[in-house]
């Protein structure tokens, strides 16, 4: 009786944005009299970071400091229509809507500044620190705050912008499946190292190593959150989770977190991610969206690592000890596969 180590991998891509389109997102942005901006959305932040992603995209496009922007996702009375936070569409669709809105608001801001400075708006640039100046002549300058005050109280201008982003709905051909499903793909490859106990059937994920290509990373700390949390969910899906353990039977369903199994903080697998950025031509600053795909490669990579370790395929998820032991028995014992590579090149 022994523990057997194995290594498996999987590579995947993921479509960004709701399939087939037809899913508009809208954004409204306006400034208060001091040049502080509010982005009003009906998008949903369910932890993935919609608020902060929106805030950074808005601040970048407006050309103002990020702390001068707050995002409100709360309210159907003030936030214009959005389809919602699903299908990896939030950053892509809403990010683009925010860019459109912010460009319009920035246009008014620069027109107001041009009027104060008596120059052409096309010659103005922002420094991202709250100032607007003439390109090549930094001394000819005005603050965003003074501009907003002038626009509000002298010029009678509204510093505001509206944005919508829509990928038009595509039809699908009945006979060939031809369609315009989506506009960008994210990519990943993940290597899982596991240990399989041939006495208990238990699988321990020893470590994972991955590379993700996600288009432009809007906020690397939040990308890390998604990828690390998603990989944990991937292990959970691969090895533990099901409300119907003897599917398709509906019996034996877990009713609480004692019966519904998920790995806890004591079962964290060390994980290294490398992020690549190939910007999507139609994404906000090239952004794609890692929110959904981050669990996907883990499931097959773990299954393939189990095969490499003990020579059995478990093709029905989750890969439980019971299934592994039955498979090993049916296979006439443990049959390890070839060793693949050496110790990982991180830590």
């Amino acid at each position: 009786m022994a523990r057997h180590e194995g290594r498996g991998m999987a590579s995947v891509n993921y479509p960004i944005g709701m399939n087939l389109g037809g899913d508009p997102s809208q954004a409204l942005i306006h400034s208060n009299p001091e040049g502080k901006f509010t982005v009003a959305l009906s998008a949903i932040d369910l932890g993935q970071g919609m608020k902060q992603v929106s805030r950074q995209i808005a601040a970048e496009t407006l050309g103002v400091p990020v702390e001068d922007v707050f995002v409100d996702t709360a309210d159907s009375d003030t936030g214009p229509h959005d389809m919602g936070s699903f299908a990896s569409r939030g950053t892509h669709r809403m990010g683009n809507a925010i860019i459109v809105a912010a460009r319009e608001a920035r246009g008014v801001l620069l027109e107001a500044a041009a009027e104060e400075l008596e120059v052409n708006a096309a010659d103005l640039v922002t420094d991202g620190r709250g100032n607007i100046h003439v390109r090549g002549a930094p001394s000819k300058t005005i603050t965003v705050k003074a501009t907003a005050q002038a626009a509000q109280f002298k010029q009678g201008k509204t510093i505001a912008g509206r944005g919508i982003f829509l990928i038009p709905l595509s039809a699908v051909d009945a006979e060939t499946g031809e369609m315009n499903p989506n506009t960008a793909f994210a990519h990943a490859c993940l290597v899982a190292d596991v240990s399989v106990d041939d006495e208990t059937g238990e699988v321990e994920v020893l470590r994972m190593t991955s590379a993700y290509e996600l288009g432009r990373v809007i906020n690397p700390r939040m990308v890390e959150q998604q990828l690390v949390g998603g990989a944990w969910m991937g292990i959970s899906h691969a090895l533990y989770e099901t409300p119907e353990p003897y599917y398709p039977s509906i019996e034996h369903g877990p009713r609480d977190f004692n019966e519904y199994l998920m790995p806890g903080p004591g079962e964290i697998a060390p994980y290294h991610v490398t992020v690549l950025e190939r910007p999507a031509p139609d994404g906000p600053f090239g952004g794609k969206g890692p929110g959904e795909m981050c669990a996907n490669p883990v499931l097959p990579a773990v299954a393939n690592a189990v095969y490499n370790a003990v020579g059995v395929r478990v093709d029905e998820l989750p890969i439980t000890p019971e299934k592994i032991l039955r498979a090993i028995r049916a296979n006439g014992g443990v049959k390890p596969g070839p060793r693949r590579g050496g110790p990982v090149n991180w830590r």
């Binding site: 991998m9 995947v12 891509n13 037809g22 009906s42 998008a43 949903i44 369910l46 932890g47 902060q52 950074q56 496009t61 990020v66 959005d82 919602g84 699903f86 683009n96 460009r103 920035r106 709905l169 039809a171 009945a174 006979e175 060939t176 499946g177 031809e178 369609m179 315009n180 990519h187 490859c189 190593t209 290509e213 432009r216 990373v217 906020n219 099901t242 119907e244 599917y247 398709p248 509906i250 609480d256 977190f257 994980y271 490398t274 992020v275 690549l276 910007p279 999507a280 031509p281 994404g283 600053f285 795909m293 490669p297 393939n304 029905e316 998820l317 590579g341 990982v344 090149n345 991180w346």
Partner: protein
């Protein structure tokens, strides 16, 4: 221990990294609220006179309802109102009716029949949760159990009990023509015939519970001006608002939804499980009503990730090229459609995974069973297929006696490759991900594999739409046609769906120079030649890591996959073209 590094050296010429805010790891706007306990979720709102709604659920997976007696419950202490199906103004809905997708098939409260264990039948509104729970036991429902079906393939077999009368064959109807969604590209049968090795395996995804730490729930309260204030956990605020307005029969502007901050969703808060009845309860009682699923309800009846059964059949050459792939899959919708019909379309577009294969076909079925309706979950329509495809790829690599990484690189899709849904791939990066993961994991690759790139080796003949064999098997109401294969060959280059006008956001560059620019729209055509990389500005970033494999000079191509038949001139046929709505199956009544 988790670590993340950025490889700014890769694709550097396609980015301008000189941005102020985007790309910075700035603190989340919502973090101060999270660590102080000040973040307000839907349930974190106090109301004077708050009432509580609890559901009486079916104990049977399939049964006719003979009678419902709520008289004792109505007289129970604290009970303010008992709701039945007849009280729901529009007691039949399907979620995607908002975008004209499918037929209304699901009641808010069952009337004549229950179709899964846990289906809501009666709602009790009382002054306290305890009173509502006590009154729940007083509801008398007389059921007449019916035969059940739980397995997707059994559900589609002749003689299976009909689960949902809206779809009498137990399948979602696509395009008013077929009992499944087809994908056809090239000639898979010829591909299998020409292959050295043909293998088929069956994969089974488990249903999975979203298990957000916050369960589904809603507080709905009568507000000033006759409107209703609704604190919602929905993942789509207007999606839920519009669904609720339809079911309770109110103009949408009578509902004021507040939400946007949700305690985890993962797809489990798309279905508007609680909003309509909470609002209806507020309308009926004139009081604020709170309807929150308890954990057991969330786990058993809160709609799981759908289980998908997937058969993958591949034709493989001994040198490692995949020449044909056919996928047959059954999505378990449970008793009602929810979003499963849509997942099948998304899956169809995902086939055959991130690889270029000259002959590809799939038949994706959505089957109704006497199971809790499944719904979207993280990776919807893709997660299960990726599991099947990538385990299959492991098997194929072994059959070809190839390293699994090298096998992926050999078959990877590249810029300009035609995907089976007849749109060219662009912006691809699978090869680079495999190379970097191999390097970091210390998984040796051959020099040849390390020299491949996504930029080259695709397009050309691989960018063409091949002559394609199509068929009419699986017609609606004609189980006898499932095996039938009246076939026809479409000429190479056939395109039927208008190329969509795709907004171009100049995403790869900084857009700040054009302050009032709105998205440009351009006609996107299938690429015949590899798209040129976008014009670039130099990156100030200097890599501190070792030169990546993918920046080695391009090496000799790996063995080229079999080219498809020589393309004929592209033909735009209108035969079989679909109307706007036909993508959504039968038009909604």
């Amino acid at each position: 221990m988790a670590t993340m590094e950025m490889r700014k050296d890769l694709f550097a010429d396609e980015r301008d990294d000189n941005l102020n805010v985007v790309g910075k790891g700035l603190q989340r706007q919502d973090m101060p609220g999270h660590v102080t306990g000040r973040t307000r979720y839907f349930d974190d709102h106090g109301f004077e006179g708050l009432l509580h709604l609890k559901i009486v659920r079916s104990p049977h997976a399939h049964a006719r309802i003979r009678s419902i007696d709520v008289s004792a419950a109505e007289r129970a202490p604290g009970v303010k109102r008992v709701l039945r199906g007849a009280d729901v103004p529009v007691n039949k809905n399907t979620l995607l009716s908002l975008i004209n997708f499918g037929k209304d098939d699901e009641p808010s409260l069952a009337v004549d029949k229950v179709r899964y264990k846990g289906e809501p039948v009666v709602a009790i509104i009382a002054e306290s949760e305890a009173q509502a729970l006590a009154a729940r036991k007083l509801v008398r429902i007389d059921y007449d159990p019916l035969p059940t079906v739980f397995d997707v393939e059994e559900a589609l077999a002749p003689g299976a009990p009909t689960v949902n009368e809206t779809y009498p064959g137990n399948y979602f109807e696509y395009h008013e023509r077929f009992d499944h969604q087809k994908l056809r590209f090239g000639d898979v049968e010829r591909g299998f015939a020409s292959a050295d090795i043909v293998m088929e395996h069956r994969y089974q995804m488990s249903p999975i519970e979203h298990a957000p730490t916050e369960t589904n729930g809603t507080i709905a309260a009568p507000d000033q001006n006759g409107r209703y204030l609704v604190h919602s956990c929905a993942q789509g605020l207007f999606f839920s608002l519009d669904t609720t307005a339809k079911i309770v029969g109110l103009p949408s502007n009578m509902l004021h939804f507040v939400g946007g901050t949700v305690g985890g969703g993962f797809g489990g808060k798309v279905d508007s499980l609680t909003e309509p009845l909470a609002v209806l309860g507020a309308m009926m009682t004139g009081k604020p009503v709170r309807f929150v699923l308890d954990r057991e309800e969330e786990m058993l009846y809160g709609s799981p990730r759908g289980a998908e059964r997937i058969y993958v059949k591949d034709g493989l050459m001994r040198d490692g090229r995949i020449v044909a792939r056919y996928i047959r899959s059954y999505f378990d919708a449970g008793a009602y459609t929810r979003l499963s019909s849509y997942a099948a379309i998304k899956c169809t577009a995902h086939v055959p995974g991130p690889y270029w294969i000259p002959n590809v076909a799939s038949d994706i079925h959505v089957a109704y069973t006497n199971r809790c309706p499944s719904t979207a979950m993280r990776g919807f329509g893709v997660t299960a297929v990726d599991f099947a495809l990538e385990v299959q790829m492991d098997r194929l690599a072994e059959a070809a006696n190839m390293d699994p990484m090298e096998f992926r690189i050999l078959n990877a899709y590249r810029d300009g490759d035609m995907k089976p849904h007849r749109r060219a791939a662009k912006n691809t990066a699978l090869i680079e991900c495999v190379q970097v993961a191999a390097e970091t994991a210390n998984w040796p690759l051959s020099e040849q594999a390390r020299r491949q790139t996504s930029h080259t080796g695709g397009a050309g003949e691989r960018g063409q739409v091949p002559a394609t064999v199509i068929d009419t098997k699986g017609q609606i109401g004609r189980p006898d046609t499932r095996a039938g294969t009246a076939t026809q060959t479409l000429p190479a280059g056939t395109m039927r769906i208008p190329l969509s006008k795709q907004p171009v956001m100049d995403g790869s560059r900084d857009g700040r120079a054009a302050p009032t620019q709105v998205p440009r729209y351009e006609q996107v055509s299938p690429a015949i030649t590899p798209p040129a990389p976008p014009p670039y500005t130099s990156s100030p970033y200097q890599s501190t890591t070792s030169p990546p494999a993918s920046q080695l000079p391009p090496g000799p191509p790996m063995p080229a996959p079999v080219p498809p038949p020589a393309p004929a001139a592209p033909t735009q046929t209108q035969h079989g073209a679909v109307r706007f709505s036909s993508v959504f199956g039968t038009r909604r009544r």
